[in-house]
Symmetry: C2
Subunit: 156 residues, 2 copies
């Protein structure tokens, strides 16, 4: 299948997700060596999970199927440009490439305004709509020191 | 319990997570009306899930316990400043406030360099280390149009 065909498959899946009533108009797939190794739909309201975006679900599904926490050698196709949460998830999963159909501006025409969160990420702590407070604790380095000293750890 | 006590609890949980070998040195809790309603540990390598950060897991756990996809009225305490993925998850979950112990700079001293992903989010598509490609499809608006027309949908 071509990149365009994979993208159109994501778009069809996104339509199915709306029609079935399972969630928002978003879907994603993960491809490795020409095979679909992961699928994800937006299931926020069905699963009561605000992190259950299509890309996060596709990454989790692919990692489960491939028995790994890293998607090197994989490509992710999304019906829409990833939001900051999914963008972060993609960078932690480390696929080789990401393809998307609708971009942020196109999605925002339908009320999906991820650009708000993109703006919040670059805003200073004082400018954020959700207040963030840095609490100083003498113990704050202790988990990191334990991690540093641990010999049999799995780096990720 | 005070904010400082909740933060110290997160730090103790983060230490437990390293000692048990379950994952990285991170933990988070969700508080509502003075009660712990959600807990999360970093379980990336144990669960084979790159999205299984402490904050994401705490949000998922709280939403599951409270049977909701929105954490209004809740506060989230984290042993470390959230990465961009967790930051996005927090903005979708919409808690009232976030408290954290170690900040990004402190975490980066131990090799947890979330600032790399923060930089990637603000970088242009051409500057990203993972290539992103916008694929144009005539169908790209179809899922959104279905969503717009749907009368019995749950907004999120």
């Amino acid at each position: 299948m071509t990149d365009k065909e994979y993208i159109d498959l994501c778009i069809e899946m996104a339509k199915e997700n709306v029609i079935s009533g399972n969630g928002g108009p978003f879907a994603a797939i993960v491809i490795k060596d020409g095979q679909i190794v992961g699928k994800g739909f937006n299931l926020v309201t069905t699963n009561n999970d605000p992190t259950a975006h299509a890309e996060v679900n596709a990454i989790r599904n692919a990692c489960s199927n491939l028995n790994t926490f890293q998607l090197n050698g994989c490509e992710i196709y999304c019906s829409c440009e990833p939001c900051p949460m999914c963008f972060g998830a993609i960078f932690w999963a480390r696929p080789d490439k990401v393809y998307f159909a609708a971009d942020k501006a196109e999605a925002s025409r339908y009320g999906f305004d991820d650009s708000f969160i993109y703006g919040q990420i670059t805003a200073s702590i004082e400018e954020r709509t959700i207040p963030f407070e840095h609490i100083i604790s003498k113990k704050l380095f202790e988990p990191f020191e334990l991690w540093k000293q641990k010999t049999n750890k799995i780096d990720y």
